[in-house]
């Protein structure tokens, strides 16, 4: 007869979760492989030796120089952008799902991204006008526009996240239908606003098209954008990673988290702020890329469990992998034309979301609480 503690250890060996170190190590290697694959994929034929030559200090031949420029100036910033966007959207999704205590809280679905789009479009139209009114030099105007765009997008995202959180909370518990309906309403408002602005100011090439905002795209990538976005995403990532234990407690409920010593107001504000900052910045440069923040955290939870100590870092890596890979397909499937990345994520994410809803119905007797 095994003693209870022996039985426990046996069970733990069978059913225990994978260790954090091995999971993160595996995902990092996978990410590296995907990055190399992506560096090597595209309209211009390149080989692995071209990729290696680009990052070595050898003097390149004139023929390989073009390829090197393609790799280092076109592909690499885009890959880094995909990495950042994937990491940010997944992390924001995980954080919001923890805050709402519900795995359906995707930033695009519940309207956070629409808030970002409203802010971004406003910035693109307003900032040049302001620059002219204030008679700023061209250089200053350029800087204000580069930073004003993500900042206003963030403000839009932050404002709407607070609204959504307020509306979805009924007596301290997340009311899922209210959360999803708020998302529908906010997305409708956002879509109408963006559509109106894009139509009225149709000549502004920075505004691009409505589909850029509604389906998202990484095509506008260059080192400038990528670095600015990086600034707005790397810092929140480090703040977010420190909320892991508090978010675990939060999943029990707000009152329970308080009883466990969590400063609930502080955690709520931090989570809303950093997820809205990341989503807002992402939307400012890449439009609304949906479902990443829904599907990737769900995959991590299914494989590794919902513990935020692992969910947050693993989600960042898997999110980055997902978007780097999706971007390869977006660039190559219809080559030389480009597929918008949001079309890809929605093609996979939409049915996935439906499947989640159907499953939650059968589990919870037709209630949508998940």
């Amino acid at each position: 007869m095994p003693t209870p503690s022996q039985a426990t250890q046996q069970n733990a060996a069978i059913k225990g979760r994978l260790s954090k170190g091995s999971v993160l190590c595996f995902l990092s290697i996978l990410l590296l492989i995907c990055v190399f694959w992506s560096l090597n994929s595209g309209a211009v034929e390149t080989t692995l030796s071209d990729v290696i030559a680009t990052f070595s200090f050898d003097e390149p031949s004139s023929k390989s120089q073009l390829k090197s420029i393609v790799i280092s100036e076109i592909r690499l910033p885009r890959i880094v952008l995909a990495f950042l966007v994937g990491a940010a959207l997944t992390l924001a999704g995980s954080l919001l799902q923890g805050l709402f205590r519900n795995p359906l809280a995707d930033p695009a679905l519940i309207g956070v991204s629409s808030g970002g789009a409203i802010g971004a479009v406003t910035a693109i139209v307003l900032l040049p006008v302001i620059a002219i009114k204030l008679k700023l030099s061209e250089g200053t105007a350029q800087i204000i526009q580069s930073f004003g765009l993500p900042v206003l997008a963030m403000c839009g995202a932050i404002a709407l996240t607070f609204v959504i959180y307020r509306v979805s909370l009924v007596r301290g518990r997340t009311h899922v239908p209210a959360m999803l309906l708020t998302g529908i309403a906010v997305n409708a408002i956002g879509g109408a606003f963006v559509g109106l602005v894009v139509t009225v100011f149709a000549t502004d090439e920075q505004l691009r098209t409505i589909t850029f905002w509604t389906l998202g795209s990484l095509s506008g990538s260059n080192w400038n954008n990528t670095i600015i976005l990086g600034l707005f995403i790397i810092i929140p990532i480090f703040i977010a990673l420190r909320q892991d234990r508090a978010l675990n407690a939060f999943l029990l409920g707000e009152a329970e988290a308080f009883h466990l010593g969590v400063n609930t107001q502080h955690v709520k504000r931090t989570v809303i702020l950093i997820s809205a900052i990341m989503v807002g910045a992402t939307v400012a440069f890449c439009g609304i890329i949906g479902f990443v923040g829904l599907v990737v955290p769900h995959m991590v939870r299914t494989a590794l469990g919902p513990d935020h100590k692992l969910l947050l870092p693993a989600g960042i890596l898997l999110g980055a992998i997902t978007l780097v890979v999706a971007d390869v397909f977006a660039r190559t499937l219809l080559s030389p034309a480009e597929l918008q990345i949001g079309i890809l994520t929605a093609t996979i994410g939409g049915p996935f979301f439906l499947a989640l809803l159907i499953r939650s119905r059968s589990v919870n007797n037709n209630s949508l609480s998940l």
Binding site: P4, S5, R17, A249, L251, L252, A255, V262, G305
Partner: protein
């Protein structure tokens, strides 16, 4: 106030809680003393849970004061407070696929991380509620009663040991069968015997009569009476508070409440 008298005590004096124009609690006193098991009873809507939540510091009180070791509770750091008092809610809405082990180890939140120690305390707590051989099973697949036991284990893991701790349980037996109702009271009693102050909100007056050292009877947010169960839960007081005629019957050394069938619902 004499501080030495209040050390290790949790005192709530003159607690008034209002929501809008509605008064949920009016000038209620409550004292938690190490080694004692106290029970709050009262009809639905009497303010039992509100009082419990006010004592945890969760609900801000409109009037009155709550002190722990003589210090106002709102001045005490969240984490420090969480090491001393834990609260088991009536039900939990956890909707994520944790294992039992993971849910219980969330209870270790206020303590600095120490994997080995945390693991031992978690397992001991799960063992206490009789779920240790299922510790790595998924929480979401458990029955309501099993979930409640998992949360009891979580609360025990949070406090670590009974001495000078405050264990607050909100209707802990509501979804449990007889065996585990007994288990919960055994644990509560054991913790009280080992130096914890235990406060339990109950509906069942039989349980209150049997386990409480002191009973606080609330009605409409006001204190009706407080004291030893036999002096508070008299047939006369029960009739005036609950509006039912009932009679205590002695059986096997315990008092059991027999309620007259012809109730007047008031």
């Amino acid at each position: 106030m004499n501080l030495s008298n209040t050390l290790g005590h949790l005192m709530a004096t003159g607690i008034t809680v209002r929501v809008g124009k509605k008064t949920l609690l009016e000038k209620v006193d409550c004292e938690l003393i190490p080694g004692k098991l106290d029970v709050i009873v009262g009809p639905n809507g009497a303010g039992k849970s509100t009082l419990l939540r006010a004592i945890t510091g969760e609900y801000p009180v409109d009037e009155g004061a709550i002190t722990l070791d003589g210090r106002p509770i709102e001045k005490i750091d969240n984490v420090e407070l969480a090491k001393r008092r834990a609260c088991l809610p009536q039900f939990s809405s956890l909707a994520f696929p944790f294992t039992i082990r993971e849910v219980v180890s969330i209870g270790r939140h206020p303590h600095p991380e120490d994997p080995k120690n945390d693991r031992a305390i978690t397992e001991a707590a799960v063992e206490k509620v009789g779920l240790v051989d299922r510790i790595d099973e998924g929480y979401l697949h458990l029955s309501g009663g099993e979930k409640q036991r998992v949360h009891l284990a979580r609360v025990l893991a949070q406090l670590e040991k009974p001495k000078e701790r405050f264990l607050l349980l909100d209707e802990p037996t509501a979804s449990l069968d007889l065996t585990y109702q007994q288990l919960v009271f055994d644990i509560a009693q054991e913790w009280a015997n080992n130096g914890a102050a235990v406060l339990i909100v109950l509906h069942d007056l039989n349980q209150a009569m049997r386990y409480a050292q002191s009973v606080t009877l609330l009605k409409d947010g006001q204190l009706v009476q407080k004291g030893a169960p036999r002096s508070v839960l008299t047939e006369g007081i029960i009739e005036s508070v609950y509006g039912v005629q009932a009679k205590w019957i002695e059986a096997d050394g315990h008092s059991l409440l027999a309620v007259n069938q012809k109730n007047q619902y008031r």
